[in-house]
């Protein structure tokens, strides 16, 4: 195929991408651009040209070694539900826009840490971008069957790089706030992920089923190749250790690569999308690997005698069989893989370069005095320029250096460099003690070790025997051999470098963190990172700050970046959220943090802090003070959260309390009335006794029969007094649980009869007819007590019977394990309002027409106590035809 026609196809393809990005930006809120599948697929930016071509190359030359790069992520992805979610929360709340912001904010919002992280990322990623350009260039020449030109003006890659630079700088900087979501880019990347997978599977199917006759065919032919066995054997423990480190490497990469952080964290707009990603993304990795082996060994079989680059087998095979269309499609898949990586990485890196190096170290002064429009334009331009420069820089790296290395090795070197962020990064979210000093020392030492053991040997040429540095070590000291440091000689260069660099990195990070105390700001952020879930709603509360700040000064700064209108709106939100008075003159810690957050997306965390602290006067706080405040604010936040959560509950409880209170007051009144009644009842017999005694004492001429009568009165009134006291004590005993009952088998009908007997005279006097409806029912109870109950109920019934024609029916019935006794009278019934209370001890109906109650109001209360001690129930109801009915039941069997 000619270069021109392929270029036209490429242009059309790029135009399609522009269109998709454009469309998605416009539909940013539709569900097409906003779903967990787009998110999961965009994560597949992980699979670059290195995956697309390089895996085949590795599989063809060294067997299974291409796999660990995918196994590592698959191992850690289930933990995303916890770890990634935590990172996303921290980033969202703090408006973090890059991994450099993330790490530097945690370590005391330090400008230097941010710059260091950016530097490491640049060092790791620029060659990686160069690698993608190399892949595009190489495959372009394979497809067009041309030779690479040394004149860059004739190199297609030059123009591809420029086109990509334009695309990324346009769509990557649509918003001045770098923490905003870039829907266009995300959707385009997701689409490319689908395409690259589709084309890869297409060529896989083609090779397996059209060129060969299925997997078996490829296998049986491949086995006959001379080095098949050697390449496909996992060699013992050393190989296993190597594998382990490769897995670890890729495991770190899935978190730390700027493009993964960009897609997985910054562009995530719903935490719940992670749930889809944890199965879809591993599935994607599996799918894109199925045909790696067949294509690689198919290529080995077909090209066993020719000198070709195995990286390009997927293009060479269809080309070999003259399938132009498939060749171009495969090329487009690889192209997609490369440009997704370039675009996303360059956006991520440019945010870091602008927010962590250029603005805090250079432009901040200018921005501080500029106006909003001007500033926005400046910031966007800085980022555009950064993206442009980064891509061009990668282009030059590609032209100058990378040209000579294969895809796989460059990718791995990148990974090792990026892995230097791992201790500080994971320490940031799990270890409170991790300090800025530790992080900086760790990263620098790790990077140095990595340079010594990997970058320098690679620059010398890894297999270059003439380099004494590589073969004999620094100054000829064999312990310092860069590829076998301290005698560790069984690891291959990449695992070897990873092991030593991470070893020294982690050691330094932990040792320095433990030995030197960090400052209060670090400790403050440590708390906010590690315990992010506690601060999720009112996280500004967790920020500790002491000093003097005027709201107007902060407002002025905000206006320079957000403009008048947005500043006003933001402050209104703040005031509402924390219930702050709009006219308050001084700013508190929460407002400082809030303002920093507003600026962070525009200029990065470090610059935001520098800007805000330039207009406020902060006082030093000691570390113990911070810890104390944190403890308090944590409590406050928990309380706050609970308060908001339960405010409705509280209202309900208040209502309940009010009710209970009313009930208590009412009970209190009832109690007074009860005491009133009881004292009245006690005084009455005393009065009679006193009157009779006084007469007997003063009057000597009382006739004898009368004298006897007075004495009889005294005796009967004394008895009455005694009975009353017994009743009160009885009730008291039941209520305090001192009363015991002595149940025995009894006949309930006989018991009722015993209760009726003493009242016979009274019943006759009032002309009441009493009917007992019952068979004989045996039950288990304390007979004396039940007689007491029956007497009470019967007396009540008699009391409430009408003057004439009074009727009382006593009904005994057995159902299941209970016997129920009902006393029904034909009086005026029980007032509905009293129904619930008549068994209360202090209760005497408010509506009793008869002002003087017969009895003390204790009868029903005592009855209830007795029945409940028998594990029975007592209740009241009104009969449909008037009259009241009081019922109680008793268990038939012993309890």
């Amino acid at each position: 195929m000619s270069s021109i026609s392929l270029l036209i196809i490429l242009s059309l393809y790029l135009a399609l991408l522009f269109f998709i990005a454009h469309w998605a930006e416009k539909k940013a809120n539709s569900r097409w651009a906003n779903n967990p599948y787009i998110y999961s697929l965009s994560l597949a930016v992980y699979c670059t040209a290195w995956t697309y071509y390089g895996s085949i190359g590795v599989a063809a030359t060294s067997g299974l070694n291409y796999l660990p790069v995918y196994i590592g992520p698959v191992i850690i992805i289930p933990a995303w539900i916890i770890i990634l979610r935590k990172i996303i929360r921290i980033s969202r709340l703090n408006k973090i826009s890059s991994i450099a912001d993330f790490i530097s904010l945690r370590y005391g919002n330090s400008r230097f840490v941010g710059a260091l992280v950016t530097f490491i990322c640049l060092f790791g990623i620029l060659p990686y971008i160069a690698l993608q350009l190399k892949a595009i260039a190489e495959t372009f020449h394979v497809v067009t069957r041309t030779e690479a030109s040394s004149n860059f003006l004739y190199d297609t890659t030059t123009y591809v790089a420029i086109a990509l630079a334009l695309f990324s700088s346009y769509y990557g900087t649509r918003y001045v706030d770098a923490s905003e979501k870039r829907k266009g880019i995300v959707t385009a990347v997701a689409m490319e992920s689908v395409l690259k997978l589709f084309f890869f599977i297409l060529v896989g199917l083609y090779v397996t089923f059209f060129v060969f006759d299925g997997f078996d065919d490829i296998y049986s032919k491949a086995v006959q190749l001379e080095d098949f066995n050697k390449k496909n054997t996992i060699g013992g423990l050393t190989q296993a250790v190597n594998w382990f480190f490769f897995c670890l490497l890729s495991l770190f990469a899935i978190f730390l690569l700027p493009r993964q952080f960009q897609m997985g964290v910054i562009e995530n707009n719903r935490e719940s999308h992670i749930k889809t990603a944890v199965w879809l993304f591993p599935l994607y990795l599996l799918a894109i690997n199925i045909f790696v082996y067949p294509v690689a060994w198919g290529g080995n079989i077909l090209f066993s005698n020719t000198e070709v680059n195995p990286d390009t087998y997927s293009l060479l095979i269809p080309q070999y069989f003259d399938n132009q269309v498939l060749t171009v499609l495969v090329f487009l898949g690889g192209f997609s893989a490369a440009i997704s990586m370039i675009v996303v990485s360059s956006i991520g890196l440019s945010t870091m370069v602008s927010n962590n190096i250029l603005i805090p170290y250079g432009f901040l002064g200018t921005l501080k005095s500029g106006e909003q429009k001007e500033n926005t334009r400046r910031i966007v331009n800085i980022r555009k320029l950064s993206i442009f420069c980064l891509i061009l820089l990668s282009y030059f790296i590609y032209r100058a250096i990378v040209l000579d290395y294969d895809l796989f090795s460059i990718g791995l070197v990148s990974f090792v460099v990026i892995a230097q962020l791992a201790p500080s990064f994971f320490g940031a979210i799990f270890w409170r003690r991790g300090s800025q000093g530790g992080a900086v020392t760790g990263m620098i030492i790790g990077f140095m070790v990595c340079t010594y053991t990997l970058l320098v040997p690679y620059a010398n040429g890894i297999t270059n025997i003439s380099s004494t540095f590589n073969t004999e070590g620094l100054y000829g000291i064999s312990l310092l051999k860069p590829l076998a440091l301290f005698g560790l000689d069984y690891l291959t260069p990449v695992p070897h470098a990873l092991f030593w660099s991470l070893f020294f990195n982690t050691l330094a990070y932990m040792a320095v963190s433990v030995s030197f105390k960090g400052n209060y700001r670090e400790r403050n952020y440590a708390e906010m990172f590690v315990d992010i879930d506690k601060y999720i709603t009112m996280h500004e509360n967790a920020f500790i700050w002491k000093g003097t700040a005027y709201k107007t000064d902060i407002q002025k700064i905000l206006k320079r970046f957000l403009g008048e209108e947005r500043t006003r709106r933001a402050l209104t939100i703040f005031n509402t959220k924390y219930g702050v008075d709009n006219n308050q003159e001084m700013a508190d810690a929460r407002l400082i943090k809030f303002a920093e957050n507003l600026l962070t997306g525009h200029i990065g965390t470090a610059s935001a802090k520098i800007l805000i602290s330039s207009v406020v006067k902060e006082e030093e706080i000691t570390l113990p003070e911070v810890l104390k405040i944190l403890e308090e604010s944590k409590e406050n936040i928990i309380i706050n959260k609970k308060l908001t959560e339960t405010s409705n509950e509280l209202k309900a409880i208040t209502a309940q309390l009010q009710q209970a209170n009313e009930k208590l007051l009412w009970k209190d009144r009832q109690k007074d009335e009860f005491l009133d009644t009881v004292t009245h009842e006690l005084r009455t017999p005393i009065t009679a006794i006193k009157a009779a005694s006084e007469i007997l004492h003063d009057d000597d001429d009382i006739p004898d029969p009368l004298k006897k009568q007075f004495l009889q009165n005294i005796i009967s009134e004394s008895d009455r007094l005694n009975r009353l006291i017994d009743k009160i004590l009885d009730l008291e005993k039941f209520e305090t649980g001192k009363q015991t009952i002595h149940p025995a088998p009894n006949n309930i009908a006989a018991t009722i009869q015993k209760a009726i007997e003493p009242l016979q005279q009274l019943i006759k006097n009032k002309g009441i007819t009493v009917t007992v409806q019952s068979g004989s029912v045996e039950a288990y109870y304390d007979e004396d007590r039940i007689i007491q109950v029956a007497t009470n109920l019967l007396s009540n019934a008699i009391k409430f019977c009408p003057e004439t024609n009074g009727k009382i029916i006593i009904n005994i019935q057995k159902a299941d394990d209970y016997v129920t006794v009902a006393f029904t009278d034909n009086g005026k019934g029980i007032n509905q309002g009293d129904m619930d209370n008549i068994f209360d001890k202090f209760y005497q109906s408010d509506n009793q027409n008869i002002k003087k109650p017969v009895g003390s109001g204790l009868g029903l209360a005592i009855s209830r106590q007795i029945i409940e001690h028998h594990k029975g129930k007592i209740w009241a109801e009104n009969c449909p035809d008037g009259g009241a009915r009081i019922l109680f039941n008793l268990p038939v069997k012993p309890i």
Partner: protein, 126 residues
Amino acid sequence: MKKILIVDDEPNIVMSLEYTFKKNNFEVFIARDGQEALDILKVRQPDVIILDIMMPMVDGYATLEQVKLDEKLNNCKVIFLSAKNKESDIEKGLALGADLYMTKPFSIKKLVDQVNHLLHQEADGE
């Protein structure tokens, strides 16, 4: 001979009062509750009424209200004799127009003295 109406639902107390006042030359009428008292008052005009408060059907307060409405009983003295001894009860009783409020248990001698005193005042006033 002065006439006295004793209204109380406690028969033993009534018995003591009846004996004592008879002995002091009173003509004694007896009622078991307020209703009975009002019935008697339709046909008799006693000089003094001894009135309990806590009684079935019609209590002492209600009885006094009725007594006050009856012009024929304008000169009749009313003494409350009750076990209700709270300030509020006493105030209520006197506010309704009772001449005296005595709490139970009481001294019979004192009661007789008070009754005589009230009747004597009446005589002086005339």
